[in-house]
Each structure stands twice: as C-alpha cells, then as structure tokens.
C-alpha cells in the first residue's frame, strides 16, 4: 500500500513516517504530481502556518483535490486538516475547500496553543473511529480550530469551546490532534485510515 505524504516542509514528519512504515505502508514523501498519481492514499500533515503550507502545496494543490475528489482516501492531520477548509483566521490564502467552513482562533479564555492530552467525545460511528471509545485521550498541539458549515463532525473535543477534533465525508478525513503522538489510540486511528485505503 502506497501512501503519499505531502511534504509541507517545515516541522516534524519523522514520527509520522515511522508510524506509517511500522503499519506496513510504503511512504512517498514529496511535492511530486507523479507520486500523487501512484498513491493509494494521501496524508496531508502539517506543522507551520496556514499560508506557508498552502504556498508549499501550490504546485500539487489541484492534483491533490482531483485525486481525493475522485475517491482516493485522504487524512489531514492538525494543520493538514485545517487546510481542507475554505479559509483560516491564521492567514489570507484560500484553503483547499474540500470541507465547507473556516478555521478560527481558539478563545482567549484558555491557554493557547492547546498543547497536551485531551479527550474525544460524542464519537459518531465511522470507519476512522472504529474501536475508539468516548473519553479516549489524544495529543493536541494547535491554536486554531475548524468550524465546519456542513455536517462532517465525527468526534468533538472541549477546550474553551467544543470543536470537531475528527471530521470526515466520504473517504476524506481530518483530525486536529497528532495520531502519531497519541499512543495506542492514535495508532488505532491511523490503522483505521489505512483500512479505508485498503478497501
């Protein structure tokens, strides 16, 4: 199984790649359209800022959108999840607009960034949440969160505000936390995604 990981450049891809390889994937990390063509599934990681990541993705953006709208599963992680929306308060670029809605800053009533372990709640049945119970802890590092304007929320988390920590439609998913840094729960979510890819 070939997984394309968009090389958004800045930040830590190493642990994600290690986790994917351990789960048996062949991983293609690049900004190459050819790699996207070959992939069975796509992961959009993301550390950095909304604008800088979209700038890096410029060359492959259209290709990515075509690929996933034609049915290839995609998992957006953290910023990569936010990129799937239309816009963000963090920047001025237009998002990939695969999900409807925008990304806004966490409220000032809580410490920002939201760094640490928090729980998944109100989990809806979905291939991505198979075997995951309400109250499971996952690891978050973010200052912004998506506000979808369509019914795509799969799980929620509370941090000053309820936000969709997992969302998805068809075989396109996004998670606000870092599954590669969330212990057994995170690995289960990654392998759930890979199961979707295999189907």
């Amino acid at each position: 199984m070939k997984i394309y990981v968009a090389n958004t450049g800045v930040g830590n891809l190493y642990s994600l790649l290690t986790a994917l390889r351990k789960l048996g994937c062949e991983v293609l990390v690049s900004l190459s359209q050819r790699d996207i063509n070959e992939a069975d599934g796509v992961i959009l990681p993301g550390v950095g800022s909304f604008d800088s990541a979209l700038k890096r993705l410029e060359k492959v953006k259209q290709k990515l959108i075509e690929k996933v709208t034609s049915g290839t599963p995609l998992l957006g992680i953290c910023l990569g999840y936010q990129l799937l929306f239309e816009a963000s308060e963090e920047g001025s670029s237009k998002g990939l607009s695969i999900f409807k809605g925008r990304v806004i800053k966490l409220p000032s009533t809580v410490k920002v960034p939201h760094i640490g372990w928090n729980t998944l709640e109100n989990i809806k049945p979905s291939p991505i949440t198979e075997g995951i119970k309400n109250g499971s802890y996952v690891y978050f590092v973010h200052s912004y969160y998506p506000q979808p304007t369509e019914q795509i929320t799969i799980a929620e988390t509370y941090y000053g505000v309820w936000f969709p920590s997992i969302a998805g439609k068809n075989s396109i998913f996004g998670v606000q936390f870092h599954p590669e840094r969330s212990g057994q729960v995170g690995l289960r979510i990654l392998s759930n995604f890979l199961k979707v890819v295999k189907r």
């Binding site: 642990s15 290690t18 550390v47 800022s49 410490k111 802890y137 690891y139 509370y158 969330s182 690995l187």
Partner: protein
C-alpha cells in the same frame, strides 16, 4: 473541563546513558535512554524529556541520533534539550523526530533565538527551560518573595546546567520568554533538584501567575503528594526523574492517586 495534567519523566543523558544528578552533581547511571523511554511510554507517561546534561557545559553537540531512535520507538511526544547552541541545532533535532526542543543558555544569551524558532517552527515546539535558585542578596529590580522563615529573597536564573548565575530575575524572564514566543516553560528549582523534598511551590506559583503559557514544574519531586501540590498551585505538567528511575513509584500509581484527588489525568 481543564486539560489533563501531564506527568513527564525526565531522562538526563550523558554520553548516551541516563543519569540523574543530585543537585546537578554526583551522577549515578540508571540505563539506556531509549529503553527507558519505551518503558515509561508503556507505563503511561504523557511525554518524555531527554536532557543532554553535559552538552551545554562541555560544548558537545546534541542528541540527534537519540532523537531518531526515540522517535522510531515511542508514540508519545518528547522534548530534547541541552547543548542547543543555534537554530541549526534545533532544526536538526526537530527534523529527526523531536517534537519539541528545550533551550536555556542559548535563550538567555540570545533571546531573539526564541522568536526566530517560534516563527520558523511554531511556538508549540519551543520550550524555554528556566533554572532558578533562591537568592537572599536582595535585588531591587526583582520580584521579592518571603520564605518559610520570613526572610525575603528573589529567584535568580542560572545557565550552563545550573552552574552560572546570571543576575536575571526568573519571574521577569518567564514573562519575557512568553513575549518572545516560547510555547512552554520548563521551570526547575535548583534548590530542590535531586532532594526529593518537593517542588519549590513559591517558584511555580510566581511563574504561573505571571505567564499564560503552560508551566512544567521540575526539581524536587519525591512522592505523589508533591506532584499534587504542584498541580494545585497551577503547574500544567510535572517533571520528575529519580522517583521513577529508582522505581520508588510507578507512573500509573501516581496517576491513580492524582485522579482520586480530583485531578484530570490520562489513564
């Protein structure tokens, strides 16, 4: 509902081995950092910190290989610190799997580095370590505290692994590093480090009340009650070494104790 409080075992590394200093001196070897990391991760640690204790002092390069091996073997976040002298050093660690880097001496000597690191990698991976020690020679610019015996003192920042005083007020410095873009403060009491007498709660409270970023309490944990005290005065995470390394308490046991005391922890 507050965020889960974190328990962070700290692994002090010297020449590739884990050691724990008693007040930063007389080291005693307790094992392989990667193996110990895997063990703690399976025991329920929320994060790990690997500190190269010799690097800053002896000018040795940092722990890139270690970062890589740890990243390959654990699935919880970890921080690497000690001896990071430049943005380039930090980048290498982050690219090799470290989730966060911790800087101390570099931050004091070149504060702008904090801002540069935050801009390039994001605040979330920039931890500024502050090593503080009570100083009873009063400094009019520092925030003054009163100790258990009614004597006034202030907290002075130390660099180079706790060896060199800087004359800087730790409370002022904490506010400053937040302004510059630090994502977290790793706050160590040199007075308490390695003593097992409990964290310096005055220090933690002083910093927690000053900044809005998460504060990791460090230095002095000897029993679960100490960790509870640190959380009660507002620490977001508790770092400890000896109480785990020597098997005095297991992480799970401490977390169960905390949960019974009403603290939200990941179990």
């Amino acid at each position: 509902m507050p965020l889960a409080k974190r328990i962070i075992p700290c692994l002090d590394v010297d020449k590739g081995r884990v050691v724990k200093g008693i007040r930063f001196k007389s080291l005693r070897n307790v094992g392989d950092p990667v193996e110990l990391g895997i063990y703690y991760s399976s025991e329920g640690a929320d994060e790990l910190v690997f500190l190269d204790i010799s690097a800053s002092f002896e000018g040795r390069t940092t722990m890139i290989d270690l970062a890589r091996r740890v990243a390959e073997n654990i699935t919880i976040p970890f921080t690497v610190g000690g001896g990071i002298r430049s943005i380039e050093d930090a980048r290498k660690l982050l690219m090799n799997g470290a989730d966060k880097i911790s800087i101390n001496t570099l931050a004091v000597k070149k504060p702008e580095t904090i801002r540069k690191l935050a801009l390039e990698f994001g605040s979330q991976c920039v931890v500024v370590a502050i090593d503080a020690k009570r100083n009873y020679t009063l400094n009019s610019k520092a925030k003054i505290f009163i100790d258990e015996n009614g004597r006034p003192f202030w907290f002075e920042v130390y660099i180079y692994g706790g060896r060199v005083p800087t004359g800087i007020d730790a409370i002022w410095w904490a506010r400053k590093v937040e302004e510059l873009g630090a994502g977290e403060i790793l706050l160590t009491s040199i007075d308490r480090d390695g003593t097992g007498l409990g964290y310096d709660l005055t220090l933690i409270k002083g910093v927690v009340e000053t900044v809005n970023i998460p504060v990791i309490a460090s230095g002095g944990a000897g029993k679960p009650e100490h960790i509870l005290e640190a959380f009660k005065v507002g620490a977001d995470a508790a770092l400890a070494a000896s109480i785990f390394h020597y098997g005095r308490y297991r992480i799970r046991e401490i977390k169960e104790f905390l949960r019974k005391a009403g603290v939200r922890v990941r179990l």
